[in-house]
Amino acid sequence: MLQNFFIRSFWFLLLVLLQTLVFNHIHFMGYATPMPYVYFLLIQPHHTDRWSYVCMGFLLGIAIDVFSNTIGAAAASMTLVGLLTPLLVKIFAPEDKLDEDFLPSAATMKWSGFLKLSAIAFFLHIALFFMLENFSLFDPETLFINIGASWVLTFLFVVAIEHIRMSFNKRFTL
């Protein structure tokens, strides 16, 4: 229980720091900004209560917002992702794992399942985030390019992070 809390806190802080110190400064081609912090919700143990998914999403969103000066936008989209993530996990996880309290990851869900899960979750978050930030359809082309490019870039980062975690887990069984 305590270990679980520490692991969560670690990931929370790591992702917020990465986002605010590194990823917020990346504007690839002027459009794409990676936002891999949704990853925090995806790797929660399967049997986490749904209300805590929602709350964690909100808290993470608010933390990101405070440091990137987009108050409310990330919080709103992360809260929605927090509501939907358990459903997505249930859909993409292998059926034999559903009864036990597994940690969603590429190892437990297979790469295909985990990638589908993260693709949808990231797309939801990024689309909603950019829409709230732009808050108009004045320039839809730029908006859609922003969403698409950021989604692809974020996806690549998540694959990388997941790789690192897998190899790390193999060595230290974290």
């Binding site: 209300w51 108050i71 409310g72 919080a75 509501l83």
Partner: protein
């Protein structure tokens, strides 16, 4: 109640979600000026729209009262319009030369203006005119009545507020007339044919009456002062006995279109004028 609590317990994450979303959006609109202004103007737009709908509904339910008010106002305006157009008719009434001359000649006489309320104009019948003034206004029988085109007739009967007039177009009407500028006089009579025409009989052959000569009152009766226009000579024909002329006269007044008349109400003045006139004519001889 138990079901409700179960429901709340089971879907608590949904309520948390809604609350947190609301908090997020409040923060979004509160701390981001652009999103805040967009939200504010959108909300204002919605409010204005709802207010507008409400107002329209309210207006619709008030239509009945407004309709009644409009009807009342309409009636009032119609009445006012009728009164005003009547007044305008009186003010803008274009006075003819004859009318001016008649009114000039009648200065010094008390004239009682009256309106024709009933006018029977039928060829060959005994026509009568009823005016809206009677004994209450000082009208007595045997008073003369003049209109815009000259002599109209003589008051025959009076009631309190109305009077009956025998017009020139009555077969028993007989008014002493003369040709203007000459002193030959005769009696104007109506033959029951056209209401625009009458004739003067017994004009001596040596009286040089011509077509276009003016026929006016002679002043020999106590009813009309001398010199009031009656009509113009249309044709000079021989009378039946061949001894004198008969003058066919076109009357100055159109009796089919008579509206405003004046009753000459000065007692005795016309008698006096008549006496003076006769005195003058005596001295001329």
């Amino acid at each position: 109640m138990q079901n409700l609590l179960d429901f709340l317990r089971r879907y608590n994450y949904l309520f948390i979600f809604v609350v947190l979303e609301v908090v997020s959006f409040v923060l979004l609109f509160r701390f981001n000026s652009y999103q805040g202004s967009v939200w504010l103007s959108a909300a204002n737009g919605v409010t204005a729209h709802i207010n507008n709908l409400y107002k329209q509904g309210e207006d619709y339910f008030r239509l009945k009262t407004i309709n009644t008010q409009l009807t009342e106002e309409n009636i009032r305006l119609q009445q006012e319009n009728a009164i005003l157009s009547e007044a305008l008719l009186t003010v803008t009434h274009d006075s003819t030369y004859t009318e001016k001359r008649v009114s000039e000649q009648l200065t010094g006489y008390t004239l009682i203006p009256a309106k024709v309320v009933s006018n029977k104009v039928v060829r060959g019948a005994n026509n009568y005119i009823v005016i809206n003034r009677g004994t209450a206004e000082g009208i007595r029988p045997e008073m003369g009545v003049v209109g815009g085109g000259g002599v109209v007739g003589i008051v025959y009967l009076t009631s309190k507020h109305h009077s009956l007039i025998i017009p020139l177009t009555h077969v028993k009407s007989s008014i002493s007339c003369r040709v203007r500028g000459k002193n030959y006089f005769g009696y104007l009579q109506w033959d029951g044919r056209s209401t625009r025409k009458a004739h003067v009989d017994d004009v001596p052959r040596y009286a040089k009456a011509r077509r276009g000569s003016v026929i006016e009152t002679s002043g020999y009766s106590a009813v009309f002062p001398p010199g009031i226009f009656v009509g113009r000579v249309d044709k000079v024909v021989n009378s039946k006995d061949g001894q004198s002329y008969r003058l066919n006269v076109v009357l100055g007044n159109d009796f089919g279109n008579l509206r405003d008349v004046n009753v000459i109400a000065t007692p005795y003045k016309n008698e006096i004028d008549a006496l003076m006139f006769q005195a003058d004519s005596l001295s001329e001889r």
